[in-house]
């Protein structure tokens, strides 16, 4: 860091220059990947996007029947939003309570063990969550109300999957609250809950919200687990026990046999997903900085 601009080690300056250019090239490749991905998504979607204008036909077509040239993505959009929204609704209170448990309520050993457990939960592959949901949750829900493969199963599995993101970011935000605030609250004779609600949570609010938005991005983009438990019927789910299909699941299901326009429609779904996630990410980044 000291010799940031000019190297004072002249003996092998040419090797250093070469090295710098190599590193720059590597960084250039790494940085241009996002653009490359966007470029190919747009290039593959373009023919279909431009053929039938306006592009609102992706939500106004009669239905999703690729053989007949009807590409209505609205049921998949609603499916994605229902599943992600439901999962966030459950995972937010659970995750924030978990973060409070780690930060303020648990004994030191318990906090450490529980944080490990949450990190392990984050490491379980989505296909294993999906498999577990399919063999355990779906039969249970089926006993309540058939068919079992439903929005509810998707929400429950997604809740477990985004919980670690919310917990760990909320924990990081709570740890970053200045100790003086807490000591001040303590000196005022506040109870623990009053301190948490009145001081810690408001001070950590931005970080917690940023974590929740990141979790939303993960829930929206999640494919395998949701694909395996939601039943994949293209429809607007009328209730928690109805099967539905998400955008991501739709791509994974139909990509193997899709050709021409149908394939382009799937790339449109992918592009939508990508833009949605980028939007959420930039919101989270702004929150995190603010």
């Amino acid at each position: 860091m000291i010799w940031l601009r000019h190297s004072i080690s002249s003996p092998s300056a040419s090797a250093d220059t070469l090295m710098l250019w190599l590193l720059r090239a590597a960084a250039g490749v790494a940085a241009s990947l996002v653009l490359l991905i966007l470029f190919f998504l747009v290039a593959e979607s373009w023919p279909l996007l431009m053929r039938d204008l306006p592009i609102t036909h992706f939500v106004t077509d009669s239905s999703w029947h690729p053989d007949e040239g009807a590409y209505n993505l609205a049921p998949m959009l609603s499916g994605t939003l229902y599943a992600a929204g439901g999962a966030l609704l459950l995972a937010m209170p659970l995750g924030i309570a978990s973060a409070l448990f780690i930060t303020y309520y648990a004994p030191p050993r318990g906090a450490d063990a529980y944080r490990r457990l949450v990190e392990l939960l984050a490491g379980i592959p989505s296909v294993v969550y999906g498999f577990w949901g399919l063999t355990t949750l779906v039969p249970l829900i089926n006993q309540l109300q058939p068919p079992g493969s439903s929005l509810l199963a998707g929400i429950l599995v997604l809740t477990l999957m985004v919980l670690p993101t919310i917990t760990l970011t909320a924990h990081a935000a709570l740890v970053a609250v200045p100790g003086d605030y807490l000591r001040g609250a303590f000196a005022l004779g506040m109870s623990r809950w009053a301190m948490v609600r009145g001081v810690a949570l408001p001070a950590a609010r931005m970080g917690i919200v940023a974590g929740a938005i990141l979790a939303a991005g993960r829930a929206v983009g999640e494919t395998m687990a949701v694909l395996m438990v939601t039943g994949n019927v293209v429809q607007h789910a009328g209730g928690l026990f109805d099967p539905e299909r998400t955008l991501a699941a739709n791509i994974a299901l139909e990509m193997p046999y899709a050709v021409s326009d149908h394939r382009a429609a799937l790339f449109v779904s992918g592009l939508t997903l990508m833009l949605l996630v980028m939007l959420l990410w930039s919101a989270a980044a702004r929150m995190g900085r603010g």
């Binding site: 710098l20 720059r24 940085a31 998504l41 659970l94 978990s98 063999t135 990141l214 983009g221």
Partner: protein, 292 residues
């Protein structure tokens, strides 16, 4: 700090409410722990009976209902090796540039970091679409272990870069000063002083990357494909362990027992990697890696 003004109102010692909140928080923690135990218990109970040495080394027969996961494991390792062979040099070089060669804020460093953060947020299914169109179709690699590995390499870059950058930044400035005082070139300093000093962080990042790659399914479905034979070359399609679990549980009636056993193998491998990564990351955070 704005909110603190209404704090006084709440501070009049609601012991009962306080106790109730404590119960709610404990209940949430117990609920989450129970879910974790439930998942692991289900997988162990379902898979342990099917697990054996022959299951690990044999190739699968009858669409995976019989036989084992030998060929699948080989494909998994090959995909992983390709991903790492490409992503490690790229990721660590980018990390070195960000930490050592460009100003922390603004300019090139900002652009690279920003685009990598966006890359980290891209859903894996979108990586699958990109890998399919770019590696399989545009570069003509077809459904192959090579395509799958390259797609995974793109996914791993952000985590490798960020761990490498953080690890290099944690190396004390005195190392750089001493190296300069000894007349070492910047390349030599990076190679012989900084990278070895940051090794624990690099290894932690590597392990996290391996974990992420092994868990990946959606990006591989239409890049490395479904074929469960023993691969002859890197241009053959090969099925990874995660894809194997997906296929057995969704497309093969009666495939649950081998799916449980495969999931158990995958989870066990990931747990091991996770524990190792935590150990390295912990050692690095304590700042005890300065043993050059």
């Amino acid at each position: 700090m704005r909110e603190i003004s209404h704090v006084e109102i709440m501070s009049s010692g609601h012991a009962r409410g306080d106790r109730m909140v404590q119960w709610v928080v404990y209940f949430a923690a117990i609920l989450v722990s129970a879910a974790f135990v439930w998942i692991v218990w289900d997988l162990v109970r379902g898979g342990i009976g099917h697990l054996s040495w022959t299951f690990l080394v044999e190739s699968s027969r009858d669409a995976g209902r019989a036989g084992g996961i030998g060929a699948v494991l080989v494909s998994t390792v090959l995909v992983l090796l390709i991903a790492l062979a490409v992503a490690l040099p790229l990721g660590w070089a980018t990390g070195a540039l960000l930490a050592e060669y460009v100003p922390a804020a603004g300019g090139l460093g900002h652009t690279v970091r920003y685009s990598l953060q966006v890359l980290a947020a891209v859903p894996s299914i979108v990586f699958g679409l990109f890998g399919n169109i770019f590696f399989c179709v545009y570069l003509g690699l077809g459904f192959s272990i090579l395509s799958g590995g390259l797609t995974l390499a793109c996914m791993l870059l952000p985590i490798l870069v960020s761990t490498a950058e953080a690890g290099l930044r944690a190396v004390p400035g005195a190392h750089r000063l001493s190296a300069t005082a000894l007349g070492m070139s910047r390349t030599a300093t990076l190679w012989h002083v900084l990278l070895p000093a940051a090794a624990p962080a690099l290894v932690a990042g590597l392990l996290l990357g391996i974990g992420r790659a092994m868990a990946e399914t959606a990006a591989l479905l239409f890049t490395s494909g479904y074929v469960d034979r023993m691969p002859d070359s890197l241009l053959d399609s090969g099925r990874t362990l995660a894809v194997h679990i997906f296929d057995l549980s969704m497309n093969v009636p009666g495939g649950d027992a081998p799916a449980y056993a495969s999931a158990l193998v995958l989870i066990a491998a990931l747990l091991l990697i996770n524990v190792l990564a935590m150990r390295f990351a912990a050692g690095w955070q304590r700042g005890k890696m300065v043993t050059v």
